[in-house]
Amino acid sequence: MTENLNVFAVRTLTQKEYFSPGHRACQGCAEALAIRLVCKALGRNIIIASATGCMEVVSTPIPFTAWRVPWFHVAFENAAAVASGIESGLKVLMRKGRIPSKKIVTLAMAGDGGTADIGLQALSGALERDDDFIYICTDNEAYMNTGIQRSSSTPFGASTTTSPAGKMKMGQITWKKNMPAIAAAHNIPYVATACPSYPVDLIQKVKKAAEIKGAAYIHILSVCPTGWRSAPELSIKLGRLAVETGIFPLYEVERGQYRLNIDFPKLKPIKEYIKLQGRFRHLTDELIGEIEKRVHKEYEQLRAKAGKGA
């Protein structure tokens, strides 16, 4: 049973699916759900440039493709550069009259590895140029497709195959890289965080990004039952808990102006989130306490930026 009653807007969404069933994602993959919702928000007039990753592999095993919109995969680190190329190609072709002028949204799609690590250079370049595209980072907090290795987006304390919890080390020893802040530092028109557990919010943010002239960056938390060692049916609940505990707050940044989408008067204890995931099961109460302190501190900093400071 769920306590979330913001449910009834679902019936107003389009029934069309631009990401077809039959893709090979794991059971309960919230990243696939995120992609599905993004496509619902944007409709058919888009071109997608994808990085290598889970979504690329599960959606296009030759000769089958789950994409009902144009989709292009080149390599791991250049989704943003390819998207820049697509956007400028369309711009020139329309200007020279070689294709009819109409609004086509260019979407770059990459995971946390393809964004925060290997893809950071191309992303930074595209954001600096303020190319007219939307960049979606679906963050499942590790290199899941290659076998759950850590990325700079892996949260502190998480056990991954290259940052395993052992006798000498307790999993990931660095704090999660703040990609939305890095994107916002480029001074682009729109940055947002989203989570498929809040589908209407996600769709609204993507639609907003599509209306923007210039670069938009949306960071979507994608629960991964396989990599997080959680039960597949909990993917939506975990996403909700990430937001309710303040670990992944939902907010927008429009030209430097922060807006917190949901402000909780009291954050849920992070233990409720952590205990459902096998990748955190080695954490001691002490470490959990440390993490909670930092989560709360960052949450207060975010509230201050959004003008809701104490």
């Binding site: 058919r44 007039n45 888009i46 071109i47 440039a49 994808s50 690329e56 592999v57 296009t60 095993p61 030759i62 000769p63 493709t65 994409w67 009902r68 919109v69 144009p70 989709w71 292009f72 995969h73 080149v74 390599a75 680190e77 250049n78 943003a80 550069a81 390819v82 998207a83 820049s84 190329g85 697509i86 956007e87 400028s88 190609g89 369309l90 711009k91 020139v92 072709l93 200007r95 020279k96 070689r98 294709i99 086509i104 250079q121 191309a122 930074s124 370049g125 600096e128 140029r129």
Partner: protein, 390 residues
């Protein structure tokens, strides 16, 4: 005859890109390619060229942008050298496998370490297998002409492959040469706008770049291999059409005073003109020496090469790059090309001109002298780096 002007070859190359009505230019600066992209950005800034000029943040992104724009059907161009080419090398393989007709000029420069900004062929030799059609230019006119040839060829519906034009860095890129410019109407007739067979557009959604499992990957590579091999007749046809338009005919292998030559110098790139001065001198002295210049590097012109070489007794192959631990890359390919022949010339391989070291006509004479002596003494398949200070 079009207008003949003295201009820096890099500028001529940029002018050719302008006349070819390129849609998207994406580049990152690296010596000695800079003059090409600087001039292109001026042309765009002045409105003389209606194109999107991208200053990207690395060469890897430069080529990636071109893949994106080419996939939508825009004519795309990039230019690089050395380390930049090495950085984007991952993407070169992808461009050819996805059959996107991008044109790239490489201002050939040596690969680090040590870092060296001057001319040799090691950069392009590192991507021999990338699947692009590859030309070597001998002089500025070649570079200018081949921009049009490359786009018409690459964009042909039966080819659809990216093309590299190799232009020796500094040695060609930064010298002023007489260039005969072609009238714009003639170019517009020779090179119509690009009409892609498949492109990214919502009206016809396609998926490009999926994952191929072991059961199908081999078939995809076979298809790619057939595509590049069957581009050979198109290459010859395009050169012929170009020749009819300008009076300049190009061939995969070009020879100079080679008909009855016992010894043939074999070069690629700007070495050709210097070597022909050496051949003239040796012919005056009554020596039976000629010159073979390889213009088409990929797809390798096996038939034309065999035809041009089988009458000679020895080939003196001058490589401007070294495959460290083996020998010169060109020499090893030529040896492989001649392996099946019963009667074949011996091949003596020199590595010369590395890192921009000058190779004068007298050096070519010395190399031929050395090769002839060595072969006399029974050392038929020699290999050495020329001019090393011991």
């Amino acid at each position: 005859m079009g207008k003949r002007v003295g201009m820096e070859v890099s500028i001529a190359a940029a002018e050719a890109v302008k006349q070819a009505n390129v849609d998207v230019i994406s580049a990152y600066p690296i010596t000695p390619q800079t003059h090409v992209v600087e001039h292109l950005s001026e042309l765009v800034a002045n409105g003389e060229l209606d194109a999107e000029f991208f200053c990207v943040e690395s060469e890897h992104s430069a080529l990636s942008v071109c893949l994106g724009s080419s996939a939508t059907g825009a004519r795309s161009f990039t230019c690089t050298s050395s380390q930049g080419l090495a950085l984007m090398s991952e993407i070169t393989y992808i461009a050819s496998a996805l059959r996107l007709p991008i044109v790239m000029i490489i201002a050939n420069r040596s690969l680090s370490a040590p870092i060296n900004i001057w001319n040799d062929h090691s950069d392009v030799m590192s991507i021999r297998d990338c699947g692009w059609i590859q030309f070597f230019a001998e002089n500025g006119q070649d570079v200018y002409d081949h921009v049009f040839i490359a786009y018409r060829l690459g964009e042909d519906r039966n080819v659809l492959l990216p093309v590299i034009i190799n232009m020796d860095g500094f040695t060609l890129s930064h010298v002023i040469e007489p260039i005969e410019l072609i009238d714009q109407e003639k170019i517009d007739q020779f090179l119509p706008p690009y009409k892609p067979v498949l492109s990214l557009h919502p009206d016809r959604p396609v998926t490009m770049g999926g994952i191929a499992l072991p059961g199908i990957f081999t078939e995809t590579k076979k298809a790619q291999e057939v595509a590049i091999r069957s581009s050979m007749p198109k290459i010859l046809e395009t050169w012929k059409a170009f020749g009819e338009m300008t009076g300049r005919y190009y061939h995969p292998i070009e020879t100079y005073k080679a008909e009855d030559a016992e010894t043939l110098l074999v070069t690629m790139g700007s070495f050709g003109e210097t070597a022909s001065a050496a051949v003239d001198k040796m012919r005056e002295e009554g020596r039976s020496v000629g010159l073979m210049k390889i213009r088409l590097w990929r797809p390798f012109p096996f038939d034309a090469f065999k035809k041009a070489s089988l009458n000679a007794k020895q080939l003196v192959v001058i490589d401007r790059a070294i495959s460290v631990g083996a020998c010169g890359p060109v020499a090893s390919e030529l040896k492989a090309a001649l392996y099946e022949e019963h009667q074949r010339p011996s091949i003596y391989n020199f590595i010369a001109g590395l890192g921009g070291r000058d190779v004068a006509p007298s050096d070519f004479v010395k190399m031929v002298d050395k090769a002839e002596i060595e072969i006399e003494e029974g050392n038929k398949e020699g290999f050495e780096i020329y001019g090393v200070r011991e």
